[in-house]
């Protein structure tokens, strides 16, 4: 076992203060893009609410940075509700953030499919609707590692969340009405699939202990984004073999077919060097090329993370002209920016 799995070595102060101190830092660094409320905790874009524009809100546990707070800004989210580390936000937070994001055209909640998130967002939506805000919710569930059956809580929401936030954010900025953004968000979710793997576990600051143990020659395949163990434990293999296996799972599931063009995300879990992510990208590029699938756009980097976990996830979105055009629209957030 790695020594680093036994103790917590983090650049923090009081572990319980970590999420709030992160947000305070974010606000100081990006006062041009966003504002932070600390009670209840939420982040909104600096010019929120934008009159007449449909609002876009997402939330979830902290520890996945830059998602979601780092995606607040022009062309992406109007508001984000970070919970405690790996814990969904609470209804009062979501309610306050929804009010702050509502420019009169209603607010879309982009919710990742986890029981905690679903229940808290449901309670919040009831509260918001009671005060007359048009709230819609789309649940993201793109993780192919989980069987979608009566015997599970359904597939987890992972990488497709980032793509949905970017694409729907662009649509909102163009003036799409709420109902159309909702439809668009469902379309992104329907056409996107992801899978993740971990080389190391991670340590929740308030827990002080790694979420699982892995030998030096083992990996977890089929992880989510909360430091939980995956579907199976495998021996560490060369990147070519691991990525072939992961790409195979994603491609077969939709399925993606020869002639498809995709938006691809090679995402680091927080502790993976960019060198390795580009090695992964190279493998993915060749595998897809061999299948006749063209990567039309891509992201390579840390976008939806699990603290300091090493590992990666792959997300593919079957794109069309509308999705590519919205993808190319300008975005200006702490975590993603182009075209401005």
């Amino acid at each position: 076992m790695l020594g680093s799995q036994l103790e917590m070595k983090k650049l923090i102060n009081d572990p319980l203060d970590a999420p709030a101190e992160f947000l305070a830092g974010l606000a100081l660094a990006h006062s041009d893009l966003l504002r932070v409320s600390l009670d209840p905790v939420y982040v909104v874009r600096a010019d929120a609410p934008v009159p007449g524009k449909a609002g876009l809100l997402s939330g979830g546990g902290s520890g996945h940075e830059p998602m979601h707070a780092g995606f607040v800004g022009r062309g992406m989210l109007d508001a984000a509700c970070p919970g405690a580390v790996f814990t969904s936000p609470t209804p009062d937070q979501i309610q306050a953030a929804t009010r702050a994001a509502n420019g009169g055209a209603g607010v879309l909640h982009i919710v990742k499919n986890y029981t905690g998130d679903i229940l808290n967002f449901e309670m919040a939506a009831e509260l918001c609707q009671a005060e007359g805000i048009d709230v819609r919710a789309v649940v993201i569930n793109d993780d192919v590692a989980v069987e979608d059956s009566l015997y599970t809580a359904g597939r987890r929401g992972v990488g497709a969340t980032v793509l949905a936030e970017k694409i729907c954010g662009a649509a909102a900025e163009r003036g799409y009405p709420l109902a159309e953004i909702e439809t668009l968000c469902r379309k992104v979710n329907r056409r996107a699939r992801s899978v993740g793997m971990a080389l190391t576990p991670c340590t929740v600051p308030a827990a002080g202990k790694a979420t699982f143990e892995l030998a030096e020659d083992e990996i977890e395949m089929g992880i989510g984004i909360h430091g939980e163990p995956g579907r199976e434990r495998l021996p560490l293999l060369p990147a070519a073999e691991l990525i072939a296996r992961m790409a195979g799972m994603v491609v077969a599931d939709l399925p993606f077919r020869s002639g498809d063009q995709v938006i691809a995300m090679v995402n680091g879990m927080g502790g993976t060097p960019l060198m390795e992510l580009y090695i992964v990208y190279r493998e993915l590029h060749h595998i897809l090329e061999g299948l006749g699938i063209r990567i039309a756009r891509r992201l390579v980097g840390n976008y939806i993370t699990s603290l300091e976990m090493a590992g990666c996830s792959l997300t593919l979105l079957q794109a069309d002209d509308e999705l590519l055009s919205l993808w190319d629209d300008p975005v200006l957030t702490a975590g993603l920016r182009w075209g401005l």
Partner: protein, 215 residues
């Protein structure tokens, strides 16, 4: 023992809520450990944070009656816990509060009604069933034991003791189950062999109730 029919009331409920803060603080590491095996290592942290907040709320705004004490606990849990446990335990106390409306004292039947309403709330909010490997696997057997004890004419303390014992057995019985709800279901067969953290916190809640009414 005093007379069997002695009704408990606000004192017992407040004592229960106070004990819950102590119990979850003392078992924070255990619950989190259980959650790290099949979840995301936050259940003990969530429960501890929630009941510390409940104590603070009750100290700041002493409740007038049983209903408002439980109501304050519900609202505070919903606001401070997050995760699955926040809305689920929040709903438990919200329904429990409603069941106690207008009752200055709780007879044995009222204690059962409180738990019945709370458990029903958890069923509706989480849409899980018995055997899914959730907190309901402790709450449902506890409720069944309470009903039986009540039918036999026992008092609140005995009712809660038997409920706690049934919850404990239910909690243990989650070990061999493959989870079908919540985060643990993502693990598929790998969730087998681990005790459910929510069933464990539910057992602790019932054991604390038995202790509060006994005192």
């Amino acid at each position: 023992m005093g007379p069997l029919s002695m009704a408990g009331g606000k004192r017992e409920v407040l004592h229960w809520l106070d004990l819950l803060q102590q119990v979850y603080a003392a078992n924070r590491a255990w619950l989190t450990e259980l959650d790290s095996a099949i979840g995301d290592a936050d259940h003990g942290i969530n429960m501890d944070r929630g009941f510390i907040a409940v104590q603070a709320e009750l100290a700041a705004h002493p409740p007038a009656d049983i209903r408002s004490a439980l109501q304050a606990a519900a609202a505070t849990l919903i606001r401070h816990v997050g995760g699955a446990a926040g809305p689920l335990y929040g709903t438990f106390f919200l329904r429990a509060a409603a069941a106690c409306a207008g009752k200055p004292e709780l007879e044995a039947g009222d204690v059962v009604a409180l738990f019945q309403a709370g458990t029903q709330g958890v069923c509706e909010r989480g849409k899980a069933a018995a055997g899914d490997k959730t907190m309901l696997d402790a709450l449902l057997p506890a409720l069944e034991a309470m009903r039986q004890a009540l039918a036999e004419g026992t008092g609140s303390v005995e009712i809660l003791d038997r409920a706690a014992a049934a919850a404990e057995a239910g909690m243990r019985a989650t070990i061999p189950i493959q989870a079908r709800k919540g985060r643990a279901s993502y693990l598929g067969p790998r969730s087998i062999g681990h005790q459910d953290p929510g069933a464990t916190s539910a057992f602790l809640m019932l054991r604390a109730a038995a202790e509060a009414w006994r005192a």
